[in-house]
């Protein structure tokens, strides 16, 4: 059952079309990614879902309700973590969570939530003294303190170091496992690949693809590349005779065999039979990154 339905959403600011024609549905219990370059319309889309903006055209339905008309009811049931929203410098972690908990009818226990998010030792620490990762965790905690059915997390890990980013990912998976549907806005391929059940790729205000991360990858580039340096000269035909292989390239002494399916096993077997050793053997697979470039025609960071 879909918990969020967006149909033909259109939103412009003056002459700038932020969302041109966006449609997707989010199912209960999934982590749904909204992926796209900066300025693609991701934030505008989730702001319409969160009821912060009114679409010029198109429909948005969240838990069967209208984000504008039923704003009061939805705010009890949807937790939102906005991009670049901060707290007062002197506000302490415990105070922030207790304050936000007081807004909701049936909040989570702030003390327990603080522990769960690994901020137990920071309860009396002022916001400005927290590290980037701690601020982000607090921000997630605030989005969760009302026990929402849906959590919208916008640019969750931007500006975090790799370790903090991985910790945050673990946290998001934990939250999903507790039954919360998550809408994750990101421009990091790795993040979408690791976390999302399904991803909507948005570019220039439109959804250009919607699939699981693996589905997106296989759709655009099912090929794998086996790269190695042979210990003795080899004939290309050794590989081209294999059914899995689609092409062979050489750069210097390096051989790159392209293929599908079990191409790695096929190549290593044929090398072993011919007593050739493959040095610096590497398997390269397409990533969501490649898929993204293929789908949108430009790099994600553009």
């Amino acid at each position: 059952m879909p918990v969020i339905e967006v149909t033909n959403l259109h939103k412009r600011y003056g002459d700038v079309v932020a969302a041109d024609d966006v449609s997707f549905t989010v199912e209960a219990g999934e982590i749904f990614g909204i992926l796209g370059p900066n300025g693609a319309g991701k934030t505008t889309t989730v702001e319409c879902v969160a009821g912060l903006r009114v679409p010029d055209r198109g429909g948005v339905s969240v838990l069967g309700l209208d984000p504008r008309r039923d704003a009061a009811r939805l705010r009890q049931r949807v937790g939102v973590q906005l991009q670049e929203s901060q707290l007062p410098d002197l506000l302490r972690v415990g105070e922030a969570l207790e304050l936000y908990a007081s807004f909701y009818r049936d909040p989570a226990d702030p003390a327990e939530l603080i522990e769960r998010l690994g901020l137990g030792t920071k309860r009396r620490t002022a916001y400005k003294k927290l590290s980037g990762g701690q601020k982000q965790r607090l921000s997630i905690a605030l989005a969760l303190v009302g026990r929402p059915e849906i959590a919208i997390l916008d640019e969750l890990t931007t500006g975090l170091d790799p370790q903090a980013r991985r910790d945050t990912w673990g946290l998001v998976e934990q939250v999903r496992d507790s039954g919360v549907t998550i809408v994750l806005v990101t421009h990091f391929m790795e993040e979408a690949e690791r976390l999302c059940d399904r991803v909507a790729v948005i570019d220039r205000g439109r959804v250009v693809a919607l699939d699981s991360p693996a589905g997106l990858v296989s759709r655009v580039a099912p090929e794998q590349r086996v790269r190695f340096r042979p210990s003795a000269p080899v004939d290309d035909r050794l590989f081209t005779d294999l059914p899995q292989v689609t092409g062979v390239n050489r750069t210097g002494r390096q051989v790159v065999v392209t293929g599908t399916g079990d191409v790695l096993h096929a190549v290593t077997s044929v090398l072993a039979r011919n007593q050739i050793i493959a040095a610096d053997l590497r398997l390269e697979q397409s990533t969501l990154d490649d898929a993204f470039v293929e789908l949108t025609g430009h790099r994600p960071a553009e």
């Binding site: 912060l52 009061a72 939102v80 002197l90 506000l91 009302g146």
Partner: protein, 244 residues
């Protein structure tokens, strides 16, 4: 209501935790009252001030310090900072409204002004021979309208300034003008007559406060100007204010 109470509680705590703000706003005027009041000559009636003592004559200007700090300095910078940092936007996604935060800030400003006014009147009376306001109703009215005019100006600054820096760029000169025409930097008897007259009509209206404190009912025109500033600046602020 529950959310508003919680927000007010937390905002009050943050305000006190900041320390410098309440210290300057409430303690500085009192400290200046004590410094001047301890000089015996300032407590003697002086024909320069129409038979008032200097402390009596200067007390309304001390109140202007509190009014200017709370209404056109602290209020707009706090609100602009909250907007710039997304505090208001974040609140808009919860069942609580960012309007509750604005209301809490106004309550804190009003409470600060009231506490400071009461302290100045009481300490002035008990320690430094400043009589209680001769026209209490007129004094209350002048204080309420002067406060309303300045708070409206403060909110207007908060409405047009997008960032903390922009807010300070407008608020600091405005603050200095209010302080100058309120006779804080240079006592008004040293100013040319024209500047004194301008000061009469500059919020919060120090002459109306002085009249009601030491003589008689403030002049209706002085009060009317304050009410007009409050209404015009207040409605402009309401029209222009954005939560993000």
């Amino acid at each position: 209501m529950h959310a508003f109470g919680q927000i007010l509680r937390i905002e009050t705590r943050l305000y006190l935790r900041d320390f410098a703000a309440p210290l300057i706003t409430i303690a500085l005027p009192l400290l200046l009252l004590a410094v001047f009041g301890l000089i015996p000559a300032t407590r003697e009636p002086n024909p320069d001030f129409g038979g008032l003592s200097f402390v009596q004559y200067f007390a309304p200007s001390l109140l202007v310090i509190t009014l200017a700090m709370a209404a056109v300095n602290i209020l707009p910078t706090v609100l602009a900072t909250y907007r710039e940092r997304g505090v208001l936007r974040r609140l808009a996604t919860t069942p609580a409204s960012p309007a509750a935060l604005l209301a809490a800030q106004l309550v804190i400003s009003l409470a600060t002004i009231l506490i400071s006014a009461v302290l100045l009147v009481v300490v002035g009376r008990l320690a430094f021979g400043v009589p209680l306001p001769r026209h209490p109703l007129g004094f209350a009215l002048a204080l309420v309208l002067g406060t309303a005019a300045l708070l409206a100006l403060g909110l207007l600054v908060a409405a047009v300034a997008r960032t903390n820096k922009a807010a300070q760029a407008i608020a600091v000169p405005l603050f200095m003008l209010v302080m100058f025409f309120g006779g804080v930097y240079v006592p008004r008897f040293l100013l040319p007559d024209l500047l004194v007259r301008i000061g009469d009509y500059t919020p919060p209206g120090v002459q109306a406060l002085l009249d009601a404190w030491t003589a008689d009912a403030p002049r209706p025109l002085h009060l009317a100007i304050m009410a007009a500033v409050a209404v015009v600046a207040g409605s402009a602020a309401a029209k222009l204010f954005r939560w993000e």
